[in-house]
Structures are given as structure tokens and as C-alpha cells.
């Protein structure tokens, strides 16, 4: 018998993450205060920037889309007992798939191009996760180490490909040739003027679909059952006749495919070209998103929205409150990641004590 009862479910899935975010904002507020700015005003600006007007909402949705894919790429692996740090590299390589198919068939109507971009982004991303998966399953190389290293390999390989192969002559910036307008994934603003010129595009629907599919896969499919058995008790999974090697490889490939969708959103939907370092840390934010969302698709959606708002609101803040520098916004974002991701369980034991004491008091 353990000394303390676990937290009630509502406290675990809702109270704890909310407390973490509040704590991060409190400390962020102190920093804002320390540089002589009004933290309440800053929060107001951020909220307005993220949700106050159409284009702002569009930007928030765009970031959210990225973070949903990156978050699912971590969450799915987590259910199988693996820690996929490689979302960043998988998304980057996914970008190669997207741009290759788009440039090869440049000019194809987007209705046909969109599914092709999804397919190739998924395939390339999956390939980049498949290798660490095989190394883990067949050779025992730890997935955390290999996926981290594969991020570096992806960066180097992509730098080479973009600057030496894809970059057209006479272009100064490090990027590929552009995709023609007709082949690009339409922005939401083209259907609803509310979103204005914001980068939110139809990829957001793919993100919603991915959330639903992941939910079904994890809790309503035999594969998900096997995945969770493996993640929660590998010896029992073996007892149940579940092949660990097979599960690890397939799960990693699925995660890579999800990460590859980040590239569809960015390359196919916004930039219309492959830009050097376009992933820009979204893959790493996915780790915090997955942990804050407790690996559940609904949680992933909500925490992705939080981070999306934080990113967009932060940009707005840097723009309209010059006293708060861009670095300070990164600091606040980092605080949220720190408190919800890395230190997500810091308040768990104090909370458990609190609930324990209350339960004991109630029992007497």
C-alpha cells in the first residue's frame, strides 16, 4: 500500500496543468514587473493579439496546427512507452517530401496537390522516424539518443539539399523554388474574410482529423491496445503475444508521419517554398504540448491552442510594448514549457498531500 492516494482524475488532468500555467505566468509577470512594465497590460495585449481580431485568431490557429501535429508525434510514441524527441527533424525531412512532390507536379490544382503533399510529407517524416525505430527495436539503441541525433543529421542534410540542390540560381535567400499559387493549400482567409491575410490554412482540418484518428487508434483499435500494453508493461505485452519490435517500428513511423504534417502546414500552406530551418522549434514545443496534454488528443488540442496563443500573443506583445523585448517573450514561453513540460509534476506531491489531508479530515 502506498503512503498516499493518487490524485483524483479531474485534478490530474485539469487542475495540475492549469496551476502550472498560472505559476509560469506569475513568474513571467514578475519579470515584466522587474523591467518596469505593467504585467496586467501585457496579458491584455497578449490575449487581444491571440484572440481579439480575425487575423490574430488566424495566426493562433496556424501555430496551433503545427503544435497539434508535433504534439501528437510525441504523444503517440509516449503511449507505446517511447520518448520521441525527433519531431523537429522528422518535420524538417517531411518538408523535403512536400516540396519534391509539389515542384515535380507544380501547377497541379491544389485539390489534387493537397493529398499528395500529405502523402509525401507523411512518407518522408515516417522514414526519418523509422530508422531510429528499427535501431531501437532490433539493436537496442535508445530512442531518445537516436532521435536527438537524427535532428542534427536532418539539419545538416537539409541545409545541404536546400542550399546546394533546391536553391534556384539568382536567389539570395536559402530557399527552394516557389510552388505556384494554384498548387498551394488555400488559406482560410480565401473562404472567410474574417481571417484576413493570416497564414491559417486548410491544414487545420487535417490537424482535427489527425486528433480524431489518433483518439480512435489509441483507444478503439487493436493496434492501440497493443501499443498501450507495450507502453505500460512490456513484459506483459510479450506475454500477450504482442511483438515489441513490430510495434516500436510501426509506432515510430506513424509519429514521423504526424510530424511530417508540420511541413504540409508550413511549406504547402504558408510559405509556398521550402525555407531553411522552417520548423523553427515547433517539434520541440510538441514535447511540452504532449506532456501538458497528458498524451490525450483532447489535451493535446487544448495545450496546442495555449502554445499557439502564446506564440501569436507574444509577437503582438513585442510589437505593441517596445519595453518588452523579443527575448523576454521567449523567456515567458520558455517558462510555460518549463513548468508544464519539464517540471509538470512538481506540484503533484504537494497537491496529493493536500488531497490526502482533506480526505483524512473528511473521514474522521
Amino acid at each position: 500500500m502506498s503512503a498516499r492516494a493518487p490524485l483524483p482524475r479531474w485534478a490530474d488532468v485539469a487542475l495540475l496543468p492549469v496551476l502550472n500555467v498560472v505559476l509560469a505566468f506569475l513568474i513571467g509577470g514578475l519579470i515584466v514587473l522587474a523591467v518596469g512594465q505593467n504585467p496586467l497590460q501585457a496579458v491584455g495585449v497578449m490575449l487581444y493579439g491571440a484572440f481579439g481580431y480575425g487575423a490574430g485568431v488566424g495566426y493562433t490557429l496556424y501555430y496551433t496546427t503545427d503544435f497539434i501535429f508535433a504534439g501528437l508525434a510525441v504523444a503517440l510514441a509516449y503511449h507505446a512507452g517511447m520518448f520521441n524527441i525527433g519531431g523537429e527533424g522528422q518535420a524538417y525531412i517531411g518538408g523535403l517530401g512536400v516540396i519534391l512532390v509539389a515542384l515535380a507536379l507544380n501547377g497541379l490544382h491544389w485539390a489534387l496537390m493537397f493529398p499528395l503533399m500529405i502523402l509525401f510529407g507523411a512518407l518522408f517524416g515516417a522514414f526519418w522516424a523509422y530508422i531510429p525505430g528499427v535501431l531501437q527495436a532490433k539493436r537496442g539503441s535508445h530512442i531518445v539518443i537516436t532521435t536527438i541525433l537524427f535532428n542534427f543529421i536532418a539539419t545538416s542534410v537539409m541545409s545541404y539539399i536546400i542550399t546546394r540542390i533546391l536553391k534556384p540560381e539568382g536567389v539570395n535567400s536559402d530557399e527552394s523554388a516557389p510552388i505556384e499559387a494554384i498548387s498551394r493549400i488555400p488559406r482560410l482567409g480565401e473562404f472567410f474574410s474574417y481571417f484576413g491575410r493570416s497564414p491559417a490554412n486548410l491544414s487545420v482540418l487535417v490537424a482535427v482529423l489527425a486528433l480524431v484518428l489518433c483518439y480512435w487508434l489509441i483507444w478503439h483499435s487493436k493496434f492501440g491496445y497493443a501499443m498501450r500494453a507495450l507502453g505500460q508493461n512490456p513484459t506483459a505485452a510479450r506475454y500477450a503475444g504482442i511483438s515489441g519490435t513490430r510495434m516500436i517500428i510501426i509506432t515510430m513511423a506513424l509519429c514521423g508521419a504526424l510530424a511530417g504534417m508540420v511541413a504540409v502546414n508550413n511549406v504547402g500552406g504558408v510559405q509556398g517554398r521550402l525555407i531553411l530551418n522552417f520548423v523553427n522549434g515547433a517539434g520541440f514545443v510538441g514535447i511540452a504540448v504532449a506532456f501538458m496534454g497528458r498524451g490525450h488528443p483532447i489535451g493535446v488540442a487544448l495545450s496546442a491552442l495555449l502554445f499557439g496563443a502564446l506564440y501569436q500573443g507574444g509577437q503582438e506583445l513585442a510589437f505593441s510594448m517596445p519595453g518588452i523585448t523579443k527575448e523576454m517573450i521567449v523567456t515567458i514561453q520558455a517558462l510555460v514549457i518549463l513548468f508544464t513540460g519539464a517540471m509538470g509534476d512538481m506540484l503533484r506531491i504537494p497537491l496529493m498531500r493536500l488531497f490526502d489531508r482533506r480526505a483524512t479530515a473528511g473521514g474522521q
Binding site: 500500500m1 487493436k222 497493443a226 503475444g241
Partner: protein, 543 residues
């Protein structure tokens, strides 16, 4: 040895202040009332047994006494003085020592180093060690606690490791010794040796609290016994004035049949055949060495042996959990391949059901809901294609719950929240309800309450009578003897003997389990014989 009778001893002890007195101890864990208003008096210089089912609150009570938990209310008196025991250091200072069920030893340290660990009295170890060596020699002389002070723990037998635990407590000046399920891992000979040590300790004036669920041990060694049930203290009684049946009834709260009732076996055709099987462990060391036997339809073949002599690896090989190195596993005349990390599925498909020895590690995903575990290993049968038919799985789970009386009857409850006995029933129901040809069962009643043991034993007999071939492995010799129709004894990876449970006596089986045959050492007990054989060299193990 004991010159005084038990009654004399109790009378003498009653004159003194009791070694331990607990008054009105209460402890809650959330909504669970683990200890309800417990009163307990342990007289000085006696062996006091505490029995009860799992979850009865024995361990909680002892943890409070040893300072792991703090009671919500109540008083602890040690030698008549009231103390609020805050941690185990405090308990030790009061002369209370504990020998845990799972030993707390550093495997690659020597016995001496383990004994002084945490009790070093100067920064330089030399003096402490020399002092400890002297003390240990004294303790060995006084209590028969002989262990080589320079041996590494990992080279010692389980029984010897336990002696080191006792030495540790005594070295720290323990006058009151708590032992938690001390014989679970011992051979009968080792258990007898332990009891002799405990009797000597008692005669020298130490007080011993023995937590166990084995009533035979209570009868054999204790002076008084306390029975706990569902967090409450039911009774404390002089051992001489009670009987195992009475104690069992007090523990469970109803009458329990301690003997297994079964009709003679009617063995028919051979179902499972194992031929020259060789299986290695994770480190590549052979644990099963050229084992051959067969199990017929309608019989229970029991494998007796001290744990760690290859039984686990044997079961794992037969059920596809571990690849064999050589030999054949034949089911209904067809050799099974059983290769790859999904081989358990092949074994199951072929008709071998498996109740694993360690249900927490293997048989259950304890974080799953009950219904998810009710289909573990059979998940492919639920639902078409990729989809999992959750409705069908829950229906199956409800069927199991009803038939095996699994409590609480909630298929959506997390499996970790079921008691040990009910968890075991979840596994048994799952494996038995598949109508397998062969049922392989490891430790069917490990950590299971007395009430559930009766039920589980009857279910195993029912499977046999339904024409299944049952292969049973248990470290409980009583269990193997009462259930099996044939007993195979395993030692050091070999089957060293076969016995008829009706005629074999315990001493003979015990010697076989320790690797000694009537003709002397078995050929199996070679140079690489595992630790248990070392105990046999002690004078007490000779016939």
C-alpha cells in the same frame, strides 16, 4: 534449547511490562481505513504471530510500529514507555528491528559491509569493521547465526541472506525483531533452521513478531497469535489453545476447507510433451538442462523446487515467452516452433493457456481497466480488422466477473485497485475460459487470501476433470502436494526425481529440492550448483 514450557514463559513475561503495546491505533489511506482501533500487546521474550489476509492491515500496523507511517491516532508503548516513533532510525534506537520480505542488502558488498551499512561509527571503516567482525562472531556463537563475514551477498543462498538481515538488526541492538513473511523464499530445511534461530533468540530474551499467512508456521513456533481482518484486530490467543482451522476461520470470517478435495485422476492421452529441453536465462546461462517429461489429459503434474532452479524458465519456454536453445515442445503430437517475440501468441493459438508466476510483471497490465486485462493475449479475437470491439470485450469481462466472483464487479475499475486474490482470479478466468488443451500455471496462489485459495484450487481441479492437461509450478510444497497427481522435483535445471504425492513425505521432497538424493548428492549438483545447495552442507540439513 527451550527448557521452559510455553505457559511458564507467558506467565513470566506477563509479570514484566510488555515489549510492545499498541493502543487504539488508527490509520487511513484516503478512503481506506487500513487500521481500525488496533490494540495489541506483545509480551517480552515471546514469539508473537500476526496472521491475516492480504489487505488485513498487518503490514500497515508494522510499518507504523517501525516508523514508516505515522498513525492518525493511538499510542505506541515500548517497554512501558510511550513513544511517537517518527522514522525507522527512531525505531532502531528503541531496539525495534525489522527483517523485510524483500531483503534490503547491497548485492555486491560483503556480509560484513552490509551489516555495518548505515551504522558506521567513524569516517574510517577499519575500526568499525573490526568491531563488527567481533560482534558477528559473538552473535553467531550465541544464536547459531553462522555466515561467512567476507562472503559477497550475491554468492549467498536466500536463507543465508536472511540471516544477514537478522544480523543487521541484532548488530544495531534490536531487542524486538519484526519478520515479514520470512519463509516465503526458503526451502523447508532453511525454514526449519530459521525457526531454530528464532527460538534461540527468544530464549535469550528477545521478542519476535512474526507476520505470516502460513498457519503451520504459526502453530510451530509462536507463543501467542493475533488475527487481523479488514483492518481490525479480531483476536489474540495463546497458540496452544487454538487450531489452524479456527485461525483460518477468524482470518476469513467464515469456515474454510484447508484440504483440497479431489477424486483420483483419470489420465488419458499425452497432450504436452517436452523433450530434451534446454533454456538459457537473459545472461545466456542455461537454467533448464535437458528436461523431458509429458503431461496427459486429465492429470495435474506439479513441479516442486526452490525458486530459481529453472522452473520459471521452463514455464516461459513452454508458453513462448522465452526461446529455447535445444529440444522440442510438442503439443498433441505436433512440435511447436515458438520463435520470435510474438511466440506467446502462437502458443496460445495452439491451445496452451498460461497463468504466469508473476501476475504483476507478466499476467496483467495493472494500469489497465479490468476489461482490458480480461482480453490480454486474446485481443485479436475481439472485433473485425483493426477495430477493437470494446462492447464484446466488456461482455466477456462481465462473464468472468460473474463466474469467478471477482470483486468489486466493475469491469471499468483500474486493475491495480483489485486485491491480490481478485487480480489472480482475473488472470485465471481469462486463461481458463478459453477452453485450452493445456493449462500452465505458475504460483497459482502467491499472495492470495485463504478464502480465494480454496476457490482457485477447486477451479484447477475442475479443469483437470474436464480433461485438460495441467502443469503446475509452485514454491509452496503443500500446494504442489495437495493438487498434483504426479510431482516432479526440479533442482539446478534438472528434474531430479518424481514422486507420488500420496506417499512422498515432506522431508524426502525437501531433500530432493535441495539437490540431495537418497544415494547422496545427485549428479545434477555439480560445480555450478546454485546457492541453495550450500545450505545443505549445514549440519542441520542432513537426514
Amino acid at each position: 534449547m527451550a527448557n521452559t514450557t510455553q505457559t511458564q514463559r507467558l506467565e513470566a513475561a506477563a509479570a514484566d511490562a510488555p515489549a510492545i503495546e499498541l493502543r487504539g491505533i488508527n490509520k487511513h489511506f484516503g478512503a481506506v481505513h487500513a487500521n481500525k482501533d488496533i490494540d495489541l500487546v506483545v509480551k517480552r521474550g515471546t514469539v508473537h504471530g500476526i496472521v491475516g489476509e492480504n489487505g488485513a492491515g498487518k503490514s500497515t500496523l508494522m510499518s507504523i510500529l517501525y516508523g514508516f507511517y505515522t498513525a492518525d491516532s493511538g499510542e505506541i508503548l515500548v517497554n512501558g514507555q510511550r513513544h511517537d516513533i517518527t522514522d525507522s532510525r527512531h525505531a532502531l534506537a528503541l531496539g525495534i528491528g525489522m527483517v523485510h520480505q524483500h531483503f534490503m542488502l547491497v548485492e555486491n558488498f560483503s556480509v560484513l559491509e552490509n551489516v555495518v551499512l548505515g551504522a558506521e561509527d567513524s569516517p574510517l571503516l577499519g575500526r568499525t569493521l573490526a568491531h563488527a567482525r567481533e560482534q558477528m562472531a559473538g552473535l553467531a556463537r550465541d544464536y547459531g547465526l553462522e555466515v561467512d563475514p567476507d562472503a559477497l551477498i550475491e554468492d549467498l543462498s536466500v536463507g543465508q541472506q536472511q540471516r544477514v538481515e537478522i544480523l543487521k538488526a541484532l548488530y544495531r541492538g534490536a531487542e524486538i525483531l519484526i519478520l515479514d513473511e520470512p519463509t516465503g523464499v526458503l526451502t523447508p530445511a532453511e525454514a526449519d533452521h530459521l525457526f531454530r534461530i528464532l527460538k534461540t533468540l527468544r530464549d535469550e530474551g528477545k521478542t519476535i513478531i512474526l507476520i505470516t499467512h502460513k498457519l503451520r508456521e504459526i502453530m510451530a513456533i509462536t507463543d501467542e497469535v493475533s488475527v487481523m481482518r479488514q483492518g481490525a484486530m479480531v483476536t489474540t490467543i495463546e497458540t496452544a489453545r487454538t487450531s489452524p482451522a479456527e485461525l483460518a476461520e477468524a482470518m476469513v470470517g467464515r469456515r474454510v476447507l484447508l484440504r483440497v478435495d479431489k477424486s483420483p485422476a483419470k489420465p488419458a492421452e499425452v497432450r504436452l510433451e517436452v523433450k530434451d529441453l534446454v533454456v538459457a536465462d537473459d545472461f545466456g546461462i542455461p537454467r533448464v538442462k535437458n528436461v523431458s517429461f509429458s503431461v496427459r489429459s486429465g492429470e495435474i503434474v506439479g513441479i516442486a523446487g526452490v525458486s530459481g532452479n529453472g522452473q520459471s524458465e521452463l514455464l516461459e519456454a513452454i508458453t513462448g515467452m522465452r526461446e529455447r536453445r535445444a529440444g522440442a515442445i510438442v503439443l498433441n503430437g505436433v512440435p511447436l516452433e515458438l520463435e520470435g517475440d510474438a511466440a506467446a501468441a502462437d502458443a496460445r493459438e495452439a491451445g496452451i493457456a498460461h497463468v504466469p508466476e508473476d501476475r504483476h510483471r507478466l499476467g496483467l497490465v495493472t494500469t489497465f481497466q479490468e476489461w482490458e486485462n480480461a482480453i490480454l493475449g486474446y485481443q485479436r479475437k475481439y472485433g473485425p480488422g483493426l477495430a477493437l470491439d470494446i462492447g464484446a470485450a466488456k461482455r466477456a469481462a462481465r462473464g468472468h466477473i460473474e463466474k469467478f466472483d471477482i470483486r468489486p464487479p466493475d469491469p471499468e475499475l483500474k486493475t491495480a485497485n483489485f486485491s491480490g486474490g481478485n487480480q489472480q482470479k482475473i488472470v485465471l478466468a481469462r486463461e481458463m475460459e478459453r477452453d485450452p488443451d493445456v493449462l500452465v500455471i505458475g504460483q497459482p496462489t502467491r499472495g492470495v487470501d485463504i478464502g480465494a485459495i480454496e476457490f482457485i484450487h477447486n477451479e484447477i481441479i475442475r479443469m483437470r476433470d474436464a480433461g485438460k492437461a495441467v502443469l503446475l509450478v509452485s514454491v509452496e510444497l503443500d500446494e504442489v502436494r495437495s493438487l498434483s497427481d504426479r510431482i516432479l522435483v526440479m533442482f539446478d535445471g534438472h528434474i531430479v526425481g518424481e514422486a507420488d504425492p500420496a506417499s512422498a513425505d515432506e522431508g524426502e521432497l525437501g531433500l530432493l529440492m535441495a539437490g540431495v538424493t537418497r544415494e547422496g548428492r545427485s549428479p545434477a549438483a555439480g560445480a555450478d550448483a546454485p546457492a541453495p545447495s550450500q545450505d545443505v552442507s549445514d549440519k542441520d540439513a542432513e537426514p
